[in-house]
């Protein structure tokens, strides 16, 4: 095994699952906030100005955000084709529904600004509906994945809880993004949304974390075996503290000079990071829980080597460029059109 452990056939799948995990995490954070903004979009007639600002706050980013999903699915397809086949065959219907949701919200975004004025509200509704459909479908698929695609009502119930949990989590992300990117009334509104979404997210996370080890004995063993338990329990603890601290902080926002307006978003990113680490820890090295591990699902070593060269050059560049882009568009969304 020691010889095998040092070989490319061992390490390449590990590297690729790392890259894919990175892509999924970045996707969940980035598209999480823009889907969240879509979910929160208020549809009243008097809300039009706020809708414009909310959508302006994600304007320069959403294209690139959704591209991380293509990268994540792309890496799954390239590095673990058998897993890609297996997962997507199980998730055929929810994946189709999610894609339609993504299509609707993506185009609504552009149509709302360019179509005849009379249709603007229709496209805003489409944007909100598309965001909700996408999020519910993603949460449902996450639930199905965690349950290892088992049939039966328990799995369906768990997936339903997961769908609602992810919807709450994206709303949490989106509302704290708005706290960061907006001011005055909309910001105050976003703070209220954030508190409510935060509590709902906490419920969802607790529910999923409690059910997951109960239904998956291997997950239970992994989390609650000594001495690892001392270390890994840090993850839920940190996660819980972040929730509490954020709730207390949000109660005091907005502060004068807009102090600490970026902190809630950073805390939600931390929560996402913890939840993601928890999930990864539960299942690694399985890529389809209980059915397939990363070495069984991996492509040929030559293919992985060829694509690795590109990935190692391009992914850092993308990260640097993304940071640059966020710097260019830093500041409040309402200011986007001044200067």
């Amino acid at each position: 095994m020691s010889e095998a452990a040092s070989s490319a056939a061992y390490w390449l799948p590990v590297i690729f699952i790392g890259l894919m995990g990175l892509a999924v995490l970045v996707y969940a954070i980035l598209d999480g906030y823009d889907l969240g903004v879509g979910i929160l979009l208020p549809l009243g007639e008097e809300d039009e100005a706020q809708r414009d600002t909310m959508i302006a706050s994600i304007g320069p980013f959403w294209d690139a955000n959704e591209t991380w999903l293509v990268l994540a699915i792309g890496l799954l397809l390239i590095a673990f084709p058998i897993a890609h086949n297996l997962i997507l065959m199980h998730l055929y219907i929810p994946a189709a529904i999610m894609l339609v949701g993504l299509i609707l919200r993506g185009v609504a975004f552009d149509f709302r600004a360019k179509a005849a004025v009379g249709y603007k509200l229709t496209w805003d509704r489409t944007f909100k509906a598309g965001s909700i459909i996408t999020t519910l479908a993603q949460g449902y698929m996450l639930g199905q994945y965690v349950m290892g695609f088992q049939p039966g009502w328990q799995a369906q119930l768990f997936s339903a809880v997961s769908a609602l949990g992810v919807t709450a989590a994206y709303s949490y992300m989106g509302s704290t993004w708005l706290v960061l990117k907006t001011e005055t009334q909309l910001q105050e509104r976003a703070v209220r949304w954030a508190r409510r979404a935060g509590r709902a997210t906490l419920l969802g996370v607790v529910a999923v974390s409690a059910i997951n080890p109960l239904v998956n004995p291997t997950v239970f063993d992994r989390w609650f075996s000594y001495p690892l338990v001392m270390f890994v329990l840090l993850i839920p603890t940190l996660c819980f503290l972040a929730f509490i601290f954020n709730d207390l902080l949000l109660a005091r926002l907005p502060k004068t000079n807009d102090r600490h307006s970026a902190l809630p978003f950073a805390l939600v990113v931390t929560i996402f990071l913890m939840c993601f680490t928890g999930l990864a820890f539960s299942f690694y090295p399985d890529i389809v829980p209980g059915q397939l591990n990363i070495w069984q699902a991996a492509s040929a070593t030559v293919s992985l080597k060829f694509i690795l060269v590109g990935a190692l050059i391009v992914i850092p560049v993308i990260l640097i460029y993304t940071a640059f882009s966020y710097r260019v568009f830093r500041g409040k969304a309402t200011e986007l059109h001044y200067h």
Binding site: D52, T53, I55, A56, G59, P60, F61, D63, A64, E66, T67, L69, V70, L71, I73, G74, L76, L77, I78, P81, I82, H84, N85, I87, L88, M89, Y92, I93, A95, A96, L99, V100, L102, I103, G106, V107, F109, D110, F111, A113, K114, A115, A116, S299, V302, S303, F306, I307, G310, A311, V314, I315, I318, T322, S325, V328, F329, L336, H337, H339
Partner: protein, 464 residues
Amino acid sequence: MLDTLILSRIQFATNISFHILFPTITIALAWIIVFFKLRYDQTDNPVWMRAYRFWVKVFALTFALGVVSGITMSFQFGTNWPGFMARVGNIAGPLLGYEVLTAFFLEATFLGIMLFGIKRVPSKVHTFSAFVVAIGTTLSAFWILALNSWMQTPSGFELRDGVAYPESWLAIIFNASFPYRLTHMLLASGLTASFFVAGISAYRILKGDPKRAPRLALKTGLTLAAVFIPIQIFVGDLHGLNTFKYQPQKVAAMEGVWETERSAPLLLFAIPDGEEKTNHYEIAIPKMASLILTHELNGEIKGIEEFPEDHPPVAPVFFAFRIMVGMGLLMLVVSWGGCYLLWRRKELPRWALKTLVGMTFAGWVATLAGWYVTEIGRQPWLVTGVLRTADAVTPIPPSHVGFSLTLYLVVYVVLLYAYINTLKVMALKSVKVEEFETEEPLAGGSLTNLPESTQKQSKGESHE
């Protein structure tokens, strides 16, 4: 009853046909936009900036449709064609991966600055962003066509237990049909975007737009089309000869040749009959097909009969080919005629403008027809000689595929209607609005999604 195979094929065709409409425009439109921006940087003439600002909005809309319909594609392989990745994933995966890594990201990230950053970054950085987006769209075509061409004429691999393993990436990427297909497709995009720009500009002029920007755009589009079309006809011929060499069964279907013959006639029209293995109602030019394909009057063309189990259905390939060629000839007449009129009298007469409006989406028709020729022409193979389409399909029940297909069809019909309608609305808006002539060009920005931009437009309207 339709089975999973045929439903999956229809679904893949639907998704990719819908998707290709938008990249076909944006690949070349990105370069046209860079041209407008560069001309502005050089001349400081605001009319170029105005042309840029209008077309960058059209680009953003088209690009968004391309992005969202492209996401669907990355799921298709796993949902409907698991056999594809299981058998040739070692080759298809990295090529698709490079497409995502180099192209998709390059476009999507730099697009933010290109669309919204004009006031936030120096003009040079902005022009550079537009340039990178254009590079990205072209690279995207490069990788996708490398994979598609490999599926047509595979090389540089070995089969072990039915699974393809790469041997030489250079041989895989630069396979026999790749250079021809790539050039043919890039020119197709050039023509599609040229007629698109010319058509929408002609529409604006017809609706009474007195400004110079649509006239400049019209001239740019028409000139580009007139330059591209003869090159395209030449490259198309080379591509056909390449196909004749490597995939003779496809050419047999294109030409409607059932039995191997010398001095084969060129069929202008016929109704191929797959049952009887013959053509009805032929209108033909004697010996022309042999002349075109072999450059000899009595050259031999292999007929469908030589490929008993391995030939595509003749009728769709035959008709699609004629639609593509017919559209190409129409483009030749219209673009050269238009250029001649423009040269003689500066302003096009109304009937010519109307013709151009009618030709706005001519590129779509030709491109789709061309892709149907090459893709249906590859059947029954998914990867020629390596994997049959029927062996790659998913085992899921037809009702699932029927459900998703219905969903996609409904959404696509609505979106296509909304897209064309929105283009019309944008063109009409720009006829009335003076854009930003009174403002400092650099401060203009293309903040189409911001409340301020609608205010600006309504202010512009009240000035009128």
